[in-house]
Symmetry: C2
Subunit: 217 residues, 2 copies
């Protein structure tokens, strides 16, 4: 009973901070993605690819969460995009107060899109509102077809699913169509993209859809 | 302060149950592996492959943890191996009390090896003792070379690292040698295997090593 009370308090506090962040993002006309996935699905590669392709269309900033290291922020920073690294030191997900503190470093900058690259974890981050407009889940095709059924909350809470590394499909028993089918079982309205950051497959379709979402905010 | 107290209580309670389980496993002469990894690295495929190869050498039982579904226990059960499924219903890791309850279903059976397939999560399960003899971390080669640096606790706490899906190496920029190098940086004594459940590469070496560990218990 004591634990449940503490958990509720944590979530209530998180939601209050997330709500404040959401107002701030709206005021500044910034569209915000909370990008979720397992470790090693290509979140940073996707952000790199998007940054290169969209630099003449809209401006992007990134907040990166990792348990340890600032490898990802170095990779993104190399593209001349503003980036703030959060190292959680063992923490398994981002919470709104961490994003609020990181966002303070971006207050002097103008940008249209903020991507929050969450900690690589398909379970815990799904339950925490960070003030984002949309949650997007990235799945590597190598992970197998059953992940939406095994980890339903993150797929249910996401507006879009990006199935990445499709260039590896010829060498796998797993098919993107199987992942899509299972994702639609847990979330019939989820929008599904199939991408490869190596061959560029599907990246333009994903960016076009994102642009339309940004315009309708 | 309140939260820290609750967390400490949870860990103390877990450790007490794990300690009891460890005595029980020793009494019954069972060797126990706590198998940890991200989602979709091939934990169940490895168990399937091991079960087929070792059926005339030693007997195996499996406890499987998943956030949702009993897909994995069905796959393992099809091999005529005793298997108990734990569905955590959103929980991000196994705790000793869940294993103790699952293990009750195996008390009437004789077996030499118990594999506890943990929830697919590279962060949270690493901190919970389940009474196992060894933690083993499974990494898919598709996840990239930097995972040991980004998720150091699970690699530090594991006695062995199995780098799986090496059949995909020709199609990736990532090399098994790079993962190994980073794993040794965070845990210089970790034993590293390179395996493919598709081509059978490295499975015999892993089983031989495991056999020697089981004999020395």
């Amino acid at each position: 009973m004591e634990i449940i009370t503490v958990e509720r308090k944590i979530l209530e506090k998180n939601d209050a901070i997330a709500s404040g962040l959401r107002k701030e993002f709206l005021f500044r006309k910034q569209f915000v993605i909370n990008l979720l996935s397992s470790p090693g699905t290509g979140k940073t590669s996707l952000i790199e690819r998007m940054a290169i392709k969209t630099k003449n269309i809209f401006s992007t900033a990134v907040i990166v969460g990792d348990v340890q290291t600032d490898n990802d922020s170095k990779r993104i920073g190399a593209l001349n995009i503003p980036v703030v690294q959060i190292v959680t030191n063992g923490g398994c997900h981002l919470e709104a107060n961490l994003v609020r503190d990181a966002y303070k470093n971006l207050l002097d900058l103008k940008f249209d899109l903020l991507i929050i690259e969450n900690v690589g974890n398909l379970v815990c981050p799904a339950g925490f509102d960070l003030g984002e407009d949309i949650k997007v889940v990235l799945s590597s095709i190598t992970e197998g077809e059953d992940k939406p059924l095994k980890y339903p909350v993150v797929f249910r809470n996401s507006v879009a699913l990006i199935i990445n590394k499709t260039d590896l499909q010829p060498y796998l028993n797993c098919k993107a169509s199987g992942i899509k089918e299972n994702a639609l079982k847990v979330n019939p309205s989820i929008k599904v993209f199939e991408t490869s950051c190596k061959t560029d497959e599907g990246i333009d379709e994903w960016i076009s859809w994102l642009e339309s979402k940004m315009k309708s905010k």
